[in-house]
């Protein structure tokens, strides 16, 4: 393990709260001054009770949520991009080339076949069509998606199958930074082991990983260390 190397992901003084304007400006504080550094080869598992803001932090890291202040610097193309403040097209470039994300929520693109969904990130970085498809199919096969499903849109798949298509779409790329939010929630033991192998390969490749795993067995196998997210008190102050 190369723990001494420069971190690939560096979170400093991250603050995030939600202002619910439709509920009279109710403010929900979630994250307060979060500092986190993730080095290559590390898998940092987020810990803390339900509602502590683990998923919110994850979504902030992917720029899906917009923090109020602080920075989320990601090593990208030899420099650092601050996901909390970068322009959309820079964030998209980071997502395309550097940062992969598997969510517990599956949002499938309607009417697009599984193999195309998995091949899409490869194509987006310029991998030629046939090669992208071949690599996509290999990853689907690795995740035990039967070939008869490759040409079908995942909307009709079971929860576990959809989850594995999502995983294939992420792991088909060798992202330097990986965000895994409950990636094994809907999987049986055999498939969980496959995912653990993929995570292990990513660590050895030098990826920096942040994960949320409810399953203790998976958590213990994947984690190089744990980061506790402190729960915030729900504020009932009204925003100006």
């Amino acid at each position: 393990m190369s723990m001494t190397r420069e971190p690939l992901l560096l979170v400093e003084k991250l603050r995030k709260h939600f202002t619910l304007h439709l509920q009279g400006g109710l403010v929900l504080g979630v994250l307060d001054d979060v500092d986190l550094a993730v080095a290559p080869g590390e898998c940092v598992v987020l810990a803390g009770p339900s509602g502590a803001g683990k998923s919110t932090l994850m979504r902030c890291l992917y720029a899906n949520y917009k923090p109020q202040s602080g920075s989320i610097r990601v090593h990208h193309r030899g420099g650092f991009v601050d996901m909390a403040n970068a322009a959309p097209h820079d964030v998209l470039a980071v997502r395309r080339e550097t940062m992969g994300y598997v969510s517990q929520f599956r949002r499938v693109i309607p009417r697009v076949p599984a193999r195309e969904i998995v091949a899409e990130p490869l194509r987006a970085v310029g991998v030629p069509g046939p090669e992208a498809l071949a690599r996509a199919e290999a990853m689907l096969a690795r995740l035990n998606i039967p070939p008869r499903l490759w040409g079908l849109p995942p909307a009709t798949f079971s929860g576990g199958e959809q989850q594995r298509v999502n995983l294939a779409r992420c792991f088909v790329m060798a992202y330097p930074v990986l965000l895994l939010d409950e990636p094994t929630a809907a999987l049986d033991a055999a498939n969980r082991r496959i995912v653990l192998t993929l995570i292990d390969e990513a660590k050895r490749r030098g990826s920096a990983i942040v994960g949320i795993f409810h399953d203790e067995e998976v958590r213990d196998a994947a984690a190089t260390r744990t980061f506790t997210v402190r729960p915030q008190t729900v504020s009932d102050t009204t925003a100006a």
Partner: protein, 259 residues
């Protein structure tokens, strides 16, 4: 993909209609290959903004700069009328909500696609016909209908034809005004797939005006939310939809069923 310089640069664009400020102080950059959605309810100024940016309406203030194929930034208002027309039929494409605004209803489907080529000087019938067939196939239209008039087509087919007609000259920037408005849901879904694919394959930059957030989730990289002529929020599409900041955006997002 993420080129170092924007293809379109808009600064301080404003336009009044009498007492109403239809568009107020709008600025943004659009990057090559980027699709931007402009959302807001009817009357929020999004369509007026599209007209201002595409040069069909003059702003009271502000500038629109477009990067031409040579890499120079052209001020749209300062361009001569012929140059702007040439731009509108080569580098730019406009897909109207109502196909009647974008098609010639009294000439055949093939001629509708071929017109833009003829307008820029194509004078070989066989080549024009070939390009028309190619584009009708790319928008998944039946080639047997190439000589039929658009008014004999369904709404979805008219919209496909309009897209083929627009893309035949390989524009670099496409403006779409509610491209799936007025179509029933299943037709809308197939058209969205088609647009999504074409935009990705051709690497188009596009501005899509719509009130349908689901459309932007599928097509747009980022969003600009407009209310009463002003931009109230901008950001990545998923960020704006999943974590809306402005009260108006929160209202928009909460008003739709699972966008």
């Amino acid at each position: 993909m993420s080129a170092a310089e924007p293809i379109l640069s808009v600064r301080g664009l404003s336009r009044r209609f009498g007492a109403i400020a239809a568009v107020r102080e709008v600025s943004f950059d659009l990057w090559p290959g980027e699709v931007m959605g402009v959302v807001g309810e009817s009357g929020s100024g999004k369509t007026t903004l599209l007209h201002l940016v595409s040069g069909s309406l003059r702003p009271d203030a502000g500038t629109v700069l477009f990067r031409d194929r040579q890499g120079a930034m052209q001020d749209i208002q300062a361009m001569s009328e012929p140059a702007r027309r040439m731009l509108a039929r080569t580098d730019w494409g406009i897909v109207h909500q109502n196909p009647r605004d974008g098609l010639r209803m009294n000439v055949s489907a093939g001629a509708n696609v071929g017109e833009r080529l003829m307008a820029v000087g194509a004078r070989h019938y066989g080549n024009i016909r070939g390009a028309a067939e190619d584009w009708l196939a790319r928008v998944e239209m039946d080639l047997g209908r190439i000589d039929d008039l658009p008014r004999t087509f369904s709404g979805g087919m008219q919209q496909r034809l309009q897209i083929a007609r627009t893309l035949v000259t390989h524009p670099r920037l496409v403006f779409m005004d509610e491209p799936t408005g007025g179509l029933d849901v299943s037709v809308q879904a197939r058209l969205l797939d088609l647009i999504r694919n074409l935009v990705a394959v051709l690497g188009l930059s596009a501005i899509i005006v719509t009130h349908d957030l689901a459309v932007t989730r599928l097509l747009a990289h980022r969003l600009m939310v407009m209310q009463r002529g002003q931009v109230v929020e901008t950001g990545l599409t998923d960020q704006v939809l999943d974590d809306p900041q402005h009260p108006y955006t929160q209202l928009l997002v909460s008003s739709v069923l699972a966008a």
